[in-house]
């Protein structure tokens, strides 16, 4: 009886802790959404009246090409992120397949070397790339950004796809080889269909990382190839003052598609966050 009561108290207590943590996490996001719906910047008094004041006018302003650059930033970001993702997943899965399914000399060292590229501070390539991209006419262009984002996300893509290829039992492909398929045929007809889910997960993660990337976008894009993150920082300068409502609306538009994508990734989130090191 006594232990049972203790259990109930403990259960209640742990839910209170979880609830506080969830409020702490959600509050800033909710605040951003509310801010984005109020036409004139900051809400001056918090009361139920703000619900009457709520409008979508900030969103209209931000998305109208005649009043704001943001629409073009979204276009740029979609093109850059989509192209980068396609190339990254293609190149990454070729490597990933080699690491997972073929034994070769130096395999382990090469794989670690690729991973270590991910840990270097991007700032140390930002400065030289600024000079190089300027000389190569790649600064502030979409191809210039795609090249950077492919290299930036390849370590992730190689490791994650490799972990998905490793999940497939060796026997499947071997059976196909015994049946007289060539390696390419075995790959196309047997392995590839089984790993499409994993490749989709890799692609979605890569897209998110390109979309959210900031430091390279800040340093290497300007009027022509500005991405959403670059556009958001530009808003302050552009208006000569901070327009809270419009910036909040842009912020919401920036995170909304990502949260939708993340929702699809739920099951694979931990695996993605750890580059496939933790298979959960």
């Amino acid at each position: 009886m006594n232990t049972r009561r203790l259990r109930t108290i403990e259960n209640a207590l742990s839910w209170i802790i979880l609830l506080i943590a969830m409020i702490f996490i959600l509050l800033p996001v909710v605040w951003l959404v509310i801010q984005s719906l109020v036409p004139r910047g900051f809400i001056l008094d918090i009361s139920l009246k703000i619900f009457e004041e709520m409008r979508l006018s900030n969103y209209a302003m931000v998305l109208d090409p005649s009043t704001s650059e943001f629409y073009r930033n979204v276009q740029n970001s979609v093109i850059i992120a989509a192209a980068s993702t396609a190339i990254t997943v293609l190149f990454g899965s070729l490597s990933g397949y080699a690491f997972a399914k073929l034994a070769f000399k130096g395999s382990n060292n090469l794989k670690i070397w690729i991973l270590s590229m991910r840990f270097f501070p991007p700032i140390s390539v930002v400065v030289p790339l600024y000079v190089l991209w300027g000389n190569l006419q790649l600064a502030d262009t979409i191809p210039g950004m795609v090249l950077i984002y492919v290299a930036l996300n390849l370590p992730f893509s190689v490791w994650l796809t490799s972990s998905f290829f490793q999940d497939l039992p060796v026997e499947i492909e071997e059976a196909a080889l015994v049946d007289g398929c060539s390696r390419l045929q075995a790959f196309r007809r047997v392995t590839l269909p089984l790993v499409t889910g994993g490749l989709a997960v890799t692609a979605l993660f890569t897209f998110i990382m390109c979309w959210n990337e900031f430091i390279f976008a800040l340093a290497l894009t300007g009027s022509r190839a500005a991405t959403v993150t670059r556009g958001l920082t530009g808003m302050i300068v552009m208006y000569g003052g901070i327009k809270w409502g419009e910036m909040s609306a842009a912020g919401v538009l920036l995170i909304l598609p990502i949260l939708a994508a993340a929702f699809l990734l739920q099951k694979h989130i931990v695996r993605g966050l750890t580059f496939g090191a933790v298979k959960a």
């Binding site: 070769f104 840990f119 090249l147 340093a219 912020g251 920036l254």
Partner: protein, 291 residues
């Protein structure tokens, strides 16, 4: 015979695009960077004079650079343990829940997915004097508040709170996945032996979770070394230079205001070497021993 050579070359062929991209966009710029770290090179004047190790010597006498190293170290020392501790506690709690667990997990995914830049703006709005939600809540309880981001005493702690908000969920999700993958057997044995809950945690859970905790720490540690987005947006390195991280300072030196590219390159290399040492310590232990 030809078939055999072909199949021996195949793995290298498959890796060629990846290696080419990394050589072109990462290794070459890094080497280029180390080259002009030996020059007094300014983009504005396009002048470049060879000065040997002078940039490196200047770096260690540059009070702002030393302060930025300290700030970055403080982030690591203060934010990371809190994130790990809170993440572990929350994971241990949720691990015992069956009902409602998936909702909690979804909520915890949100901060990780928010672009760090947007997280910066979010919190800048939250910390805004008087009208921001932080001041409103605290003032309504009669608590007098400092100007969070422009007061030298509170600027860095305010930034650390932003980092904790965004990345505790990262620790939580990884550790939770680790806990859920643990086998039940040792726990049942411990239960029979009458071990206390703390003993079970200390002698069973922690040792089994070692690798996964190390993976989580490695990712957070290297991300904190790179920290750039939030400090730029929330405090812009201020007040004064008190919240400049190393990355933010290198950016300022190299690509805005001063355009001292040579000096920025030398600072980058100092940061690279620090990163290399840290990564070496972890990476072998985690990623090699498993194979």
């Amino acid at each position: 015979m030809r078939e055999k050579i072909k199949s021996e070359l195949l793995p290298y062929l498959l890796n060629a695009p990846t290696i080419a991209m990394l050589l072109f966009v990462a290794i070459f710029p890094l080497l280029y960077c180390s080259y002009f770290s030996f020059f007094e090179y300014r983009l504005i004047t396009q002048s470049a004079n060879f000065i040997g190790f002078d940039n490196y010597i200047t770096a260690f006498q540059d009070p702002i650079f030393l302060s930025s190293l300290r700030v970055t170290a403080l982030f690591i020392v203060l934010a990371l343990p809190v994130e790990l501790g809170l993440g572990l506690i929350l994971a241990l709690i949720l691990n015992q829940k069956t009902k409602g667990a998936s909702i909690v997990r979804v909520v915890f995914m949100i901060p990780i997915m928010v672009a760090p830049l947007v997280a910066g703006y979010l919190w800048r709005f939250m910390y805004w004097p008087d009208v921001g939600i932080v001041d409103r809540v605290l003032n309504s309880f009669g608590i007098r508040t400092p100007e969070w981001v422009s007061n030298p005493q509170t600027a860095l702690p305010s930034l650390i709170v932003v980092d904790i908000w965004q990345w505790t969920p990262f620790m939580f999700l990884i550790l939770l996945a680790g806990l859920q993958a643990l086998s039940r057997d040792p726990y049942e044995a411990a239960l029979i032996d009458g071990a206390s809950r703390f003993q079970v945690f200390r002698h069973i859970t922690l040792p089994l979770m070692r690798t996964i905790i190390a993976v989580a720490i490695l990712f957070r540690l290297t991300d904190l070394i790179k920290l750039f987005d939030q400090p730029l947006i929330v405090t812009n390195g201020g007040p004064g230079f008190s919240t400049y991280t190393v990355s933010l300072y290198i950016y300022r030196v190299g690509l805005s205001e001063q355009f001292r590219v040579g000096y920025a390159a030398s600072l980058s290399w100092i940061l690279n070497i620090i990163t290399m040492v840290v990564v070496m310590m972890f990476i072998r232990g985690i990623f090699v021993s498993k194979k």
